[in-house]
Symmetry: C2
Amino acid sequence: MLSARPQSDRPHVRPVVAPSPVRADDEANRLASQSIADTLALLQATLTPQRRIVHAGDRIYQSGERFGHLYILNSGFAKIVNLAPDGRELVVGLKFRGDWMGFDGIAAGAYACDAVAMDTGEVWVLRYDQLLAACIGRPELLKMLHEAMSREIARDRDSLMSVCTLSADARVADFLRYWAESLARRGLRTDQITLRMTRAEIGNYLGMTLETVSRALSRLARNQLICFVEKGRRDIHIPEVEALAAFVQRSVAPADVVLQ
Amino acid sequence: MLSARPQSDRPHVRPVVAPSPVRADDEANRLASQSIADTLALLQATLTPQRRIVHAGDRIYQSGERFGHLYILNSGFAKIVNLAPDGRELVVGLKFRGDWMGFDGIAAGAYACDAVAMDTGEVWVLRYDQLLAACIGRPELLKMLHEAMSREIARDRDSLMSVCTLSADARVADFLRYWAESLARRGLRTDQITLRMTRAEIGNYLGMTLETVSRALSRLARNQLICFVEKGRRDIHIPEVEALAAFVQRSVAPADVVLQ
DNA sequence: CGGGCGTTTGAATCAAATCAATTGGAGTGG
DNA sequence: CCACTCCAATTGATTTGATTCAAACGCCCG
């Protein structure tokens, strides 16, 4: 567990000062943010979806419920919880502004998961049949729908990749990176994020126990990749998102770079 | 691994039903098989897809390649391999007759994975734009497409569930169960299956090492849940698929039922 | 026949789970 | 305001399941 001296071989701990105020990614994020806004605007214009305010803990839809609607998060955060018939439950996805929910119900005619709000927010409700009807003659709507489904498939595979190939520390780092990146793409600040999940939930999402999550976070903090913001350990400050990505990379690569 | 806490001690211990020669599942499988055949027939009738013969090891599409086509397996087996920029690679999906491939490319405009044939088979190639055009005015075609994407999303989540909540032994058992079930749904015999993957590949798919796969198989064989067919350890005989499912269930549940 | 690969199995090691104790903040009620 | 509980989180000690390292076997094929 305790290995090589830290200080020397830690090129990633750069001074907290932002290197350059405008990075290449910033433009990409601006575009992504705009794209999400455009999507929402188009939906609103063509379908005038029903709006629904949700609060932390509210179920947007539930496993077993008859499929009929798709949902889009206009604000807030949500988690997707997969339920096995035997009682196992697992957080299989996190949703942010502009994300779609409910695709899993199309094939079976009933939802296979619960979608649970993690914060106060607004959900737009679309009747699936109306959406399909609206898609006829509006190719951009269909394109949008397919892209959302495609993104979900690609994202799920990345999750699988993460749990199958990364160590616990790297998985937690990757989780934080993913969360921060998701915020960045929506034009939100990423230097300080508020996790809306307990350690137990994070662990459930990442396939590890809550103690392991806690230890991993402590190690990341010890190595300056993150730091906790004053009272409570829910708010996390990330000086450099790139440093987290770099850490994940190194943990995969040959080297023996380990957290102290 | 982690204990995806069973929410309560729900006694789901269903009795091991006496194996009647004609099970309820048989009818479901016949229907599923018919549905796959219908799908293929419809596609052929409306789009006359290009047919392509592939052999084990052939790439159906490759990561990075510009997206433009969707692929449907008419016969044979294929695996989907996700590639991370850092070189990690992971089998994230298995495909059987009637399965679609290439959805992951829609959003990004380029495929994110390799699709690799594991056997000689036939792939149908559809131009995505033609498919979309054909969907206008043929709702059943669009329905079919969406159901395929939905199924993939649901399946990916089940995979995640498997790697996150099951022990190595249970994961291997669940893998065999899934493979057998996939064959059953296509009207193929399931009592004896030929794995088209090495232990290393299985391990990669399940997030464990090849040695662990080998040990798990040995334990399953020792407990009569499977047995190897004469020469070579590629062919596996599964006396009762339900027994594998039951084993997975038990390994999740409280009890201390463990393989010898 | 011999080489190469895939597989099996054993022994040692290690990362993460489990068990257990403690802290600390948030909320409640006297 | 403090005493109290409750629950999330941290941290340490220990156990355990899986990986790693290593050796040997069996099958296929030139």
